[in-house]
Symmetry: D2
Subunit: 339 residues, 4 copies
């Protein structure tokens, strides 16, 4: 049975694995101060075109809780959509560092300037938390992405209101290769902190944290160590990101994931299944009759997201670096047989 | 330049790496619910001889903060020596989860029943924290270890006083192969929770958390997720521990590290250098004249621990799975030339 | 200018003040272990008819954060309406102790079993917080109250789902004198913890915390001390609650507040103003044309709650122990002149 | 039985009580924004001679945890003596806000520049917390006080090392009237934040928090509300501090407490009892033969601090605003009879 349940079902991309193998016997200093982390950061820096502090942590929840607690004072809160990963799927990790997550219902997976203003209007005095940080994901939880124009508008609103913007890039690769999405260089001037996700784009694990705002560069390694985000053999993260940012591998994987998803999507559309969120990234949300779903699940695993009606279920299909054309063809053919 | 600075300077033991390679393309479920984690836990369970809940996390600080916050109520505190890793070298990670670390000066790296009683005598009412958990490391921060008898005596004191015992096994392998140290089976009845360290014993990363006390088994995965300790591709931890607990590899590596250290130690003793803590594990603390130290550091890197006098420095030498006889011979020869 | 802005604009009821004066020169032990706290607790206990642990703290936010952090494990969350005091008006005090507040839009100020079930349905695994405690206020933030039947139904749902119920009684007195509301004796078997508010019912300050559930009695004074909720001259709280629970003063004040509000409400209704939440307690929410509001505010202060339209504002009028018939008559007369 | 156990055994000084009585029926705004808080702050400001932000909270633990969490970033720690109130007697309140308390053994109750330097030398990298705030008490836990010269030297060390100084003035009055101690005006330029204790100097309760350092003035009321430190009827604090800072009452009470203690001390010395810490404040630590102690305790209550030997006990005697000459004479006479 092949699983489309998520994009972290397999190990690492062969090139990433090769880099780990080739360096295995070398001795390096620990905790991310090694030459591989330095090299990876230089490569990322080059793409950004601006000076940034870059750190590497194992996973997304770690990245989010370390960053958010670093950016906020005790009484400050973070703004997110109601579907934001930090709001729903991190078991209160942000609250565990002492901070409230303020939400508004998402629009197509996204947060809008209007939502920010609405939250600011509501929070007027010291009897309420002080909203200070805006959190978005690129791509979003539902597979959509912020276009360059949308991000510009959002960040203008953030700055106008004296706030900060943090972009969770767990699936950034999937957005970077969209023609109207912000590039790394764009992002470098359109937020205060962002992450570049490795786990869901070919690495064994790892998120790069990019701090752009000078004010928050200081002390971040203390924050990392305290929150358990500092890896002893830190070079493992450097080696992987170095490989991902060599010869455009990071983009190549992102594009591959999107292409595989696109191929599936076209077939779904062809048979008139209801695609829920229009998107060209590696996540597909589709509403299926349970009879069809049962048939699919004889051969493929997919995530059940929501019961839409007694007869209909919303499912999610995700493609990864390892999803190949072969599998996609098999799925599409199977679909054409049962549709 | 060869470094003896720590036991996480290299990647993974070849057998661990091989296991990762061979399984790379397989699809598994995430977050530690895969067959490799199950298999590893079964192997560990077999050695324990009792029923335990076993979880896997990336690193030691993560393990410590997740476990300690899981075991304690808000107002309860953990007892440690003044050299305990949680007290000194985790940037207040335990305090960041809300708990005080109560300390007494170590004796030969160890915590004694007398220290526990002294702390209990001091904490008598609700104006002070309530000591509830005892934290020790096996081996200790200075390379010594608790013998089976010592651990029995300590745990008796812990139980007599209605407390809990948590053993940090970041360097457990190095103790397990000592003839008078507690085995895994012994430990299974002499504490409430302990960890089995992988990072410093041949894994790329990873600590196994073994929960023995029934009362604290519930909810631990919630705690892990909240504290950022749950790895997306959790199977990476299962695969490594499965390899380590196949054909006695975990013990073999521990013994190898100890043997390499022993060989160096004998040479140091031969030339009458002052070994600070008598130990047969993989850490050596030795006081050296600065003139000797400078010479050593032309060829080998070692940790500077403390200035003993204007002319003398306490250093630490650590051996790892990757330290081979060749290197040790080279070091010993070099030592004989400069001593 | 008389203010109807809240029920803590004045000092203490004369009988409470008298009790403080008469005992001023006595020496007592500190921190709530004095005879006055014991006497007050005995009187409250007598009304409850069951065994309970009773503690006294200064204010509502203190009570809420101390209780909620005492009842929850790290990864557990509290359920509240979107208007719950802990959700909106305590500057993230609950999150600062590490816990998420899960909300649903209120119905007439209240939380319903359906909301609880909806939240439970959503929270299914360890990637999300574990809902464990239900928080309601009696009376609610909008001046309504849970009837005995409603509370029974709610607590049945709470127990059926293995949860806990905490009732914030900051304005409990105002509900206790309603014919169909639960009495103290009723409440004693229909929740796990509740508070009896003094600040808004004739005391200078003070909330009594009543712990009914055996499981959570232990260690509460440690929790109080840690959270800064333990008053040095604790007898001040005991003296006040002893006075409030002597000869029915607590009920008398609650009834007086309600009576004063009722008189105002009848006048408002007479002139066809829109009363927003039907209630017979001491808070009145009413939508007024701005022209009327401006006139009222020449003589009386009221809280602005919300802009309803460009021409209309929702205001709140609150009566207190000190609001007398004289003032109410004056307000009613004035209203009849401007209406 | 008269108790010398502490200085919060009685209610409030008559003048403070009178002020509360006279204003009881007035209506004011809540949460410390009333005219009495403003008036009190103006009076305190006048004595300081510099611009400061002044806030009022109920008690010492609240003040300490609110201030310290306001001044520190997540990974920063506070320095204290091993006897510091925050280290021992607040049930881990500081750790509960996430911060480690670093200690060194006190010298005569005091913290010295050498201790600060020693702690700074130990904390060198991001694997350890970052010491940032120095906490001292004036008077100290053992009744001694920092002279003006000592405070100058300490603050110079604090500034030289880029740290902050917070002075806990729970018993400040007792120091202010010493000829060589810093005045309020002195303190205003020799620390970053300090408190002026009311609870132990004639108030029912209350500590004034004085923020001198511009950088930390912002957001403090948010911090207070979140930590449960904001009193609904905030004017109660303003009224009391206004009375205490009218016509020198605060100093008068401090001097009275000291005078009463001095009279007792002279008698103790006359009969050659061992006074442990030389001091002229309101706390006396004395080592007594148990036979003498038993006799004293037939008529007077005192605190047992420590068993010095099987036959000897260290006790503490504390005088308060309410300790009068009559009682002191009685105690002295009684002492002369049993000595």
């Amino acid at each position: 049975m092949y699983t489309f349940i998520n994009d972290y079902s397999e190990g690492a991309h062969p090139k990433v694995l090769k880099a780990l193998l080739e360096t295995n016997d070398e001795q390096t200093v620990g905790y991310g101060n090694d030459q591989y982390c330095i090299s990876a950061s230089k490569k990322i820096q080059d793409e950004l075109g601006v000076d940034a502090d870059i750190h590497y942590v194992i996973g997304g929840t770690q990245a989010n809780l370390t960053i958010i607690s670093h950016l906020l004072k005790d009484y400050q809160a973070v703004i997110s959509t109601d579907q934001g990963h930090i709001s729903v799927h991190e078991t209160g990790a942000i609250e565990a560092t002492g901070h409230k997550v303020l939400t508004r219902p998402h629009e197509d997976g996204k947060l809008t300037p209007a939502m920010i203003k609405d939250i600011l209007d509501e929070h007027t005095d010291e009897h309420m938390v002080q909203p200070y940080l805006v959190y978005i994901s690129q791509t979003t939880e539902v597979g959509t992405y912020y276009t360059l124009d949308e991000l510009k508008e959002l960040y203008a609103c953030v700055k106008d209101n004296g706030l900060l913007l943090f972009i969770d890039g767990a699936r950034l690769a999937s957005a970077l290769t969209q023609h109207d999405a912000p590039s790394l260089k764009d992002i470098a001037s359109l937020c205060d902190v962002f992450t570049i996700g490795g786990t869901k784009n070919g690495a064994l694990f790892g998120e790069a944290i990019v701090i752009l705002n000078e004010q928050f560069k200081q002390g971040f390694r203390f924050q990392m160590k305290q929150k358990g985000s500092m890896l002893a053999k830190g070079r493992l993260l450097g080696i992987q990101f170095d490989a991902l940012f060599t010869d455009g591998l990071y983009y190549e994987i992102g594009k591959h994931e999107n292409d595989m998803a696109l191929s599936i999507k076209e077939t779904l559309k062809k048979y008139q299944f209801h695609i829920v969120f229009e998107s060209t990234t590696n996540q597909i949300f589709v509403d299926l009759d349970n009879t069809i779903l049962e048939k699919i699940e004889k051969e493929f695993k997919v995530s059940h997201i929501q019961k839409i009606s007694p007869d209909k279920t919303r499912i999610r299909i995700v493609t990864s670096w390892a999803t190949n054309q072969n599998i996609v063809d098999k799925f599409n053919t199977y679909l054409s047989e049962i549709a």
